[in-house]
Symmetry: C2
Subunit: 156 residues, 2 copies
């Protein structure tokens, strides 16, 4: 294989993602407890459900990239905000631990995530990050609609 | 400099971004002409203003990474949807032309975007993409609030 030039290295991409995850954590924390699974705009899913989707994708995708085993056992049932934040912090630590175990050549290889979605590993991992940014942006609209100021987008 | 391992190469990242930009174009196109600069949710900016912000960041950031010259002359004044889509397509072609002119070592180097924001070039470029995803997600809420079905997130 010829030498590949990096746009970004695996370590820098993880740091970039964890920056996004700190912001997403602040958005979860900004929701009033009683609005997390009851409030939404335009008939969309409430933010608590979106946060649980983020959790259901992040660690299972990275674990799959490391092991080739695909499972996403996390329940999507509503739960208290403190429990979501606890799961968030567990995932933060687990991502830091597992990410360096992804073989460096794997990022350019094709894999089939969760037995269903084929793609380059870097595109599948970016999909998880992009999906988090996409739904978090929706959380900003929910917070504004509740009369609450979301955390600044540029702070990570 | 030691050999750096890529998470993703510059060419694959541009392809990933242009995929996002095709989706963003479909979101702009999905807005009724009379809602683009008049409708929003929660007191936020209307989607037309967000689309113009995307345009004001994309090409100027890439041009700056190539030339070290920073300017963002695009006006943010409301304009017809067809004009925004025309600017979008011009930017698509200009990004394809300019991106390969970014020196490959530049992505890991520090620069000060628009004379104000210092950072690694890859982080500054990702900021532009992330900002597009963030605001486009808000456009999804606006469309749903208008009773319109947004284009699927996973189609690029």
């Amino acid at each position: 294989m010829p030498e590949l030039v990096p746009f970004i290295t695996p370590g820098a991409l993880l740091a970039h993602w964890q920056g996004h995850r700190r912001l997403s954590r602040r958005v979860i924390a900004a929701f009033p407890e009683d609005k997390l699974f009851t409030f939404s705009v335009g008939g969309m899913r409430p933010f608590g459900a979106l946060a649980l989707e983020m959790l259901a994708m992040a660690l299972p995708m990275v674990r799959g990239a490391v092991t080739g085993q695909w499972d996403s056992p996390s329940s999507r049932d509503p739960r208290p905000k403190a429990e979501i934040l606890r799961l968030w912090d567990e995932t933060t630590a687990a991502l830091d631990r597992l990410w360096p175990q992804i073989p460096t050549e794997r990022f350019q290889e094709t894999m089939t995530a969760f037995g269903q979605w084929p793609g380059k590993a870097h595109d599948l991992l970016l999909y998880v990050i992009d999906n988090e940014i996409h739904h978090r942006g929706q959380g900003y609209v929910y917070l504004r609609s509740l009369g609450l100021e979301p955390p600044p987008f540029y702070e990570r």
